[in-house]
């Protein structure tokens, strides 16, 4: 179980992302209010186009809201400049993508070392940290392998190592098991659970896989751009008991 405390690390109030094209207005997210606390493992679920990835991208400051408030780790993300956001993201956020998004020409060790290039650590310290992160995800023997030489499951584990190497406060995962077979997905979910339970990391995971959502301590549903009230599920969806 997650060791959540009462301090919210993510607070959104009436958070909205609207796209305007000439006379058309499309709401990717509308009036979403949520609080996620330190040490929680929250799964965001919903059908395609429900706004779950949009919410995750806004939390990671990969996109700017068009309305509402968003405070993450004490920072009002709307007030940060682009370069401040980049530094903030590097220091506090670990992001895991559905398609792993490793740099194909770099080895596993170099991929994991990459975010540390923006820190003041020496090369030796960077490589030590990267090596330890890869050992943590069980890839201590694949340091010099390039993404092409690894399976999808191994690639996603490298991506997890890259996400945690900076010791971020918040781990955000966008469909982390979406491109994996059942066994690899299980390994990845196990790793995320460990990061949450053993290392106390706050994890927010977007998924539409009920099995993946069950590993989270808490599940929130979205539908048609709206965050449903706590405990409510979309029509035709069976609730998941985490």
């Amino acid at each position: 179980m997650s060791s959540a405390t009462q301090q919210p690390v993510i607070t959104t109030r009436e958070l909205t992302k609207e796209y305007r094209r000439q006379e058309y207005h499309v709401y990717a997210l509308r009036d979403a209010s949520i609080e996620i606390h330190q040490g929680e493992f929250v799964a965001l679920m919903g059908p395609s186009g429900s706004g779950k990835s949009t919410l995750l991208h806004l939390i990671a400051a990969m996109d700017r809201p068009t309305g509402g408030e968003i405070i993450v780790l004490g920072h009002d993300l709307r007030s940060l400049s682009e370069s401040e956001v980049a530094r903030w993201r590097n220091a506090h956020i670990g992001f895991i993508f559905q398609s792993f998004n490793l740099i194909p020409v770099l080895t596993a060790l170099e991929n994991v070392e990459l975010p540390l290039k923006l820190t003041r650590l020496s090369r030796r310290e960077r490589l030590d940290h990267a090596r330890r992160a890869l050992e943590l995800v069980g890839l201590g023997d694949r340091l010099s392998h390039t993404p092409r030489q690894m399976s999808g499951g191994q690639e996603q584990r490298v991506a997890i190592a890259r996400a945690l190497v900076t010791d971020p406060d918040l781990i955000l995962a966008d469909e982390p098991t979406g491109n994996l077979d059942a066994n690899s997905a299980k390994d990845v979910l196990h790793l995320l659970t460990r990061l949450n339970q053993e290392f106390g990391k706050t994890v927010v995971m977007v998924t539409h896989d009920p099995h993946a959502a069950r590993t989270a301590g808490h599940v929130r549903y979205l539908e048609k751009g709206r965050l449903l009230p706590n405990g409510e599920v979309p029509e035709d969806w069976a609730p998941i008991h985490a």
């Binding site: 990969m62 993201r89 398609s99 998004n101 740099i103 020409v105 770099l106 975010p115 290039k117």
Partner: protein, 388 residues
């Protein structure tokens, strides 16, 4: 400090070998054209600069632009000899050489109609004033005989040989020696005895020029002033170095044409680099998005792609230098508009010429890379991540 590691750029270049090789080759060919022209001009400059001793002064008729159209009488020469500031040798002889310069036509396989070659009549003092000139084969011409000594380049380019008889003037002249002029223009000249040649050319009293050595560098300009202000002499005087420097203008049309061609090619090469880099940016859009998510700034992305373009052009630049390296030392010649004769010299690929080529390539790479790099840096994170 560069945040994105250099290995990222290098490996991306090696990952797409064919594209990298083709673009680099295009840049290399452009650099090769520019370097060939630069090496040619450098070779000519080296030859002409070496021909001019800064201690020496060349005296021509007033208004005479070259030795060929200058006339100096023996009387004027005697007047000049009496001037102070002229160095004397150990035997007390003034270091001054009266010379007659004319042109002969030398035929070759490449130029069956013949090429103008400078024929210089001088005394042993004329040889002494040319420190770099050494006899390498045969013997010196004898005074009063129709004998000549040919420059090394004439052997290489026109196949003249010891014992060969050349017909010009009033008879046949035998090549009795071959001289090595070092890096000077003497390599492309023929030397003969002053009096014999002057008589043969009906110029016993009206010769061409006087070469003088000043006692010191400080006395060179006063000596020139002294000669030029003497109205009886009616001469122009200049340092030997200045005289040869003005002949560099002979290479100007080639330099201008070569530079023009290289510039046109460089525009093409810059577009090739731009095209390659635009393709790289499009293909690696998702990587750019990922780097931004990891915290790399737009500036880091811009620098990374600019650096990659510069590295690509650097490969082209180095390749271009290697392509022209075999030209180094190759002898060629240009017709001089000053002397109306051919001046032979070697392509001279100096480190400076090669640096010029590499810098030129880098400029092409940076110019070609700046727009694609800017487009990479401008990408928004989410659209970049979504592009395949």
């Amino acid at each position: 400090m560069l945040a994105i590691p250099l290995s990222y750029n290098l490996r991306n270049l090696t990952a797409r070998k064919t594209t990298t090789a083709m673009t680099a080759l295009g840049i290399a060919l452009t650099v090769a054209v520019l370097l060939s022209v630069s090496a040619l001009v450098q070779g000519l400059r080296t030859s002409l600069a070496a021909s001019g001793n800064p201690l020496q002064v060349l005296v021509l008729r007033k208004g005479g632009t070259a030795e060929l159209n200058s006339v100096i009488t023996r009387t004027a020469f005697q007047d000049i000899l009496a001037r102070p500031r002229i160095a004397h040798d150990e035997e007390g002889q003034p270091m001054a050489s009266l010379e007659v310069v004319t042109v002969i036509v030398l035929e070759s396989k490449e130029n069956p109609s013949g090429i103008n070659i400078n024929l210089r009549g001088l005394t042993p003092m004329g040889f002494r004033l040319r420190d770099e000139v050494k006899l390498t084969a045969g013997r010196m011409f004898r005074p009063g005989h129709r004998e000549i000594v040919a420059g090394r380049s004439l052997v290489n380019r026109y196949g003249v040989y010891l014992g060969q008889k050349l017909r010009f003037g009033r008879g046949e002249w035998e090549i009795t020696g071959i001289m090595d002029g070092g890096r000077t223009s003497a390599n492309s000249e023929v030397f003969a005895d002053l009096n014999q040649l002057a008589a043969d050319q009906n110029r016993s009293t009206a010769l061409s020029s006087v070469l003088l050595r000043a006692t010191s560098l400080a006395e060179v300009q006063p000596l020139i002033n002294d000669l030029e202000t003497d109205r009886r002499l009616n001469v122009d005087a200049m340092t030997e170095a200045a005289y040869y420097a003005q002949q560099t203008s002979s290479a100007m049309p080639i330099q201008a044409l070569g530079t023009f061609v290289a510039l046109i090619m460089s525009i093409g090469s810059s577009f090739a680099a731009m095209n390659t880099m635009y393709a790289a940016v499009a293909r690696r859009s998702s990587e750019i998005g990922t780097l931004r998510v990891l915290g790399f700034s737009r500036r880091s992305i811009l620098l990374a792609f600019l650096l990659e373009s510069a590295l690509l052009s650097l490969i082209g630049g180095v390749l271009g230098c290697l392509l022209v390296l075999p030209l180094n030392g190759l002898e060629t010649g240009v017709g001089s508009f000053v002397t109306f004769s051919e001046l032979t010299f070697s392509f001279h690929i100096t480190p400076q010429v090669m640096i010029t080529g590499v810098v030129f390539a880098l400029i092409m790479g940076v110019l070609g890379g700046i727009l694609p790099a800017a487009s990479a840096a401008r990408k928004q994170i989410l659209p970049a991540l979504k592009s395949v």
